[in-house]
Symmetry: C2
Subunit: 355 residues, 2 copies
């Protein structure tokens, strides 16, 4: 059977399908629980969450499902930006703030404090799966998770990064192909050279690590799931497909943009957060791209643009919101998680039967 493998056995779930831990409101406890209840692995995107709201969300998920689920954390980055760089960015952002009537945010120095607290809660709450993006936790932290039987999943965009994950003791690794929507997980080497298509990335990673490989990037239906397993992946991780689910907490403008976009409308841009991410090109991207190289890095720029993006959503200005999307948006549907997963399962089984 296509769904019986190391991944589903180790996690004790029905289907080798992970819902990506997308940050900033998309992964409501309802979405996470719906995915786990449908036989996949739901993931709370806690990258931007403070410890207490994260704890509450975990408790809520536990009320909604008794199946395994995951929490995704961001490895913190201690970026520095000069007063001058920040002032230059504020100058560029001022017209948006004035139009939307939002004030200039204060920049607090990035720290690792929130991450430390998040890790404590993961362990206290015995979250079944903890995944990481933007780097690899220390060997010590990975060891701690293992002692609590928490499965640790990393994110890589090159074979080299997959090797680093394995060396740090991670249990599994998500290989994020260039098709994937949202932030690039690249943490070692150039972002440009790490835009490897899923068709290339998965078999090369499978050949070079001994831990299970999870394919991400461009997968939206049963064809993609079975193709990824054929390449040697033990499971898939899907993001964009879940953003438009009825249980998703994504903003209406974001959902509509995905549903109406074509594969040639998404671009890799760092103008929203300071870190390259794939999203649908809109006015903000077009206008800010000429200044891309001089903007502050992540997470400082993310903080600077945050209120613009959230207020733009409230005032229905999709042209100024980050519209993260992968390259397979023509296959997106507005449907329940249950319908989506049962359609994937039927499609996989149909392909297998008709071969």
């Amino acid at each position: 059977m296509w769904n019986e493998n190391k991944f589903t056995q180790e996690l004790n779930i029905q289907y080798p399908i992970i819902q990506a831990g997308m940050a900033a409101g998309t992964t409501t406890p309802e979405l996470v629980a719906a995915v786990s209840n449908a036989g996949g692995l739901g993931t709370l995107g806690a990258g931007y969450m403070k410890a207490e709201p994260m704890k509450e969300a975990i408790k809520k998920i536990k009320e909604l499902t008794d199946k395994p689920f995951g929490v995704n954390l961001f490895i913190p980055e201690i970026t520095d930006a000069s007063e001058e760089e920040i002032e230059k960015a504020n100058e560029l952002l001022r017209p948006y703030r004035e139009e939307l009537k939002v004030t200039e945010p204060e920049i607090t120095k990035p720290s690792t404090e929130i991450f430390e607290k998040q890790m404590e809660i993961i362990i206290q709450e015995k979250v079944p799966v903890c995944s990481f993006t933007f780097g690899v936790p220390s060997k010590e932290k990975v060891h701690q998770l293992k002692q609590e039987n928490i499965v640790a999943i990393g994110t890589a965009t090159t074979v080299k990064e997959a090797n680093i994950n394995e060396e740090h003791g991670m249990d599994m690794v998500v290989m994020q192909g260039s098709e994937a929507g949202g932030h690039r997980g690249t943490f070692s080497g150039s972002f440009d050279n790490a835009l490897i298509g899923t068709m290339s990335l998965v078999p090369q990673a499978v050949d070079h690590v001994n831990i299970p490989v999870i394919a991400a990037g461009g997968i939206m239906d049963g064809r993609g799931v079975l193709a990824a397993l054929t390449l040697g992946a033990q499971a898939v991780q899907m993001g964009t497909a879940f953003v438009t689910a009825l249980e998703s907490g994504a903003k209406k403008q974001h959902i509509d943009a995905i549903l109406n976009s074509t594969e040639d409308q998404s671009v890799i841009t760092s103008v929203f957060s300071g870190k390259p991410a794939r999203g649908i090109q809109n006015e903000f991207v077009t206008k800010m791209t000429p200044y891309e190289q001089s903007l502050p890095g992540y997470p400082i720029l993310n903080t600077l643009t945050k209120s613009i993006r959230s207020e733009a959503a409230k005032q229905n200005r999709p042209e100024w919101i980050h519209l993260w999307s992968g390259q397979t948006s023509r296959l997106s549907k507005r449907q329940t998680v249950g319908k989506m997963i049962s359609d994937i399962v039927s499609q996989v089984e149909d392909i297998e039967k008709n071969r």
Copy 2:
């Protein structure tokens, strides 16, 4: 059976595997015939060939195989460049020419004359398959091919381009994913937005055209072939995998570079030809990239750099040669075409059996 489908039936061949029509010497009659004799579809890359040498190569292929084969042509582009642009490029290229002792080439205005003669020969010689890159032939030309029972295959990098191919009456279309080595086939819209991964591109094209879709980009072994068919493709086209075949006419330095490269070393660059292409980053790319935007377009820049590249190969200077390669180079092997295809077939059958 995995290899029984519209594609293999229509072409009357054993396996749904096309060897890409790579230009500039790689696709010797020996390579083309070896692929066709092994049950795939060999293709003469005639993009840069004049009519007479092309005719001779076709005759030679016919001596070496009685199986179907293809010829790939480039849709001509009538690019203009100012004296000033050309002089600026020559200034940048002078140090390479001096070091290699090659002279400045004369630029003849690009014309459609060679293409017209190539088309005449395709029809005279009743070549079984004619594929096209960099655009779509006129409806009249496609009609002519059909009258002679010549199968016409186009190249597309977006769903929109696939639609244009279908509208022009093409019989099949190759969907070139961003993983693919060599020149991008993009002919409508921005090159940057048309870097769609194979995992995304294939199912979206399959859903939007009625002609058979051929998957290209990142496919190197049986896993890739079966994954592409799972996505809905009727066949695959492989380029890089054949460059390192023992029957290939590629330069030794090119073959060695592919065999020793990793997936994160290739980049999209237009510094060799004026048109974006994927190859392994080397000194020429690094040094010329800062001037990329101001260089003349394709095919003018191609003519300007041609003698540098061929002389660099003779003098064993791989740092100045175009080292076209896809993103799955870790899977490349130096082996015969026969071994490569029989390994693909065994691997596909093993995956199917063990499911």
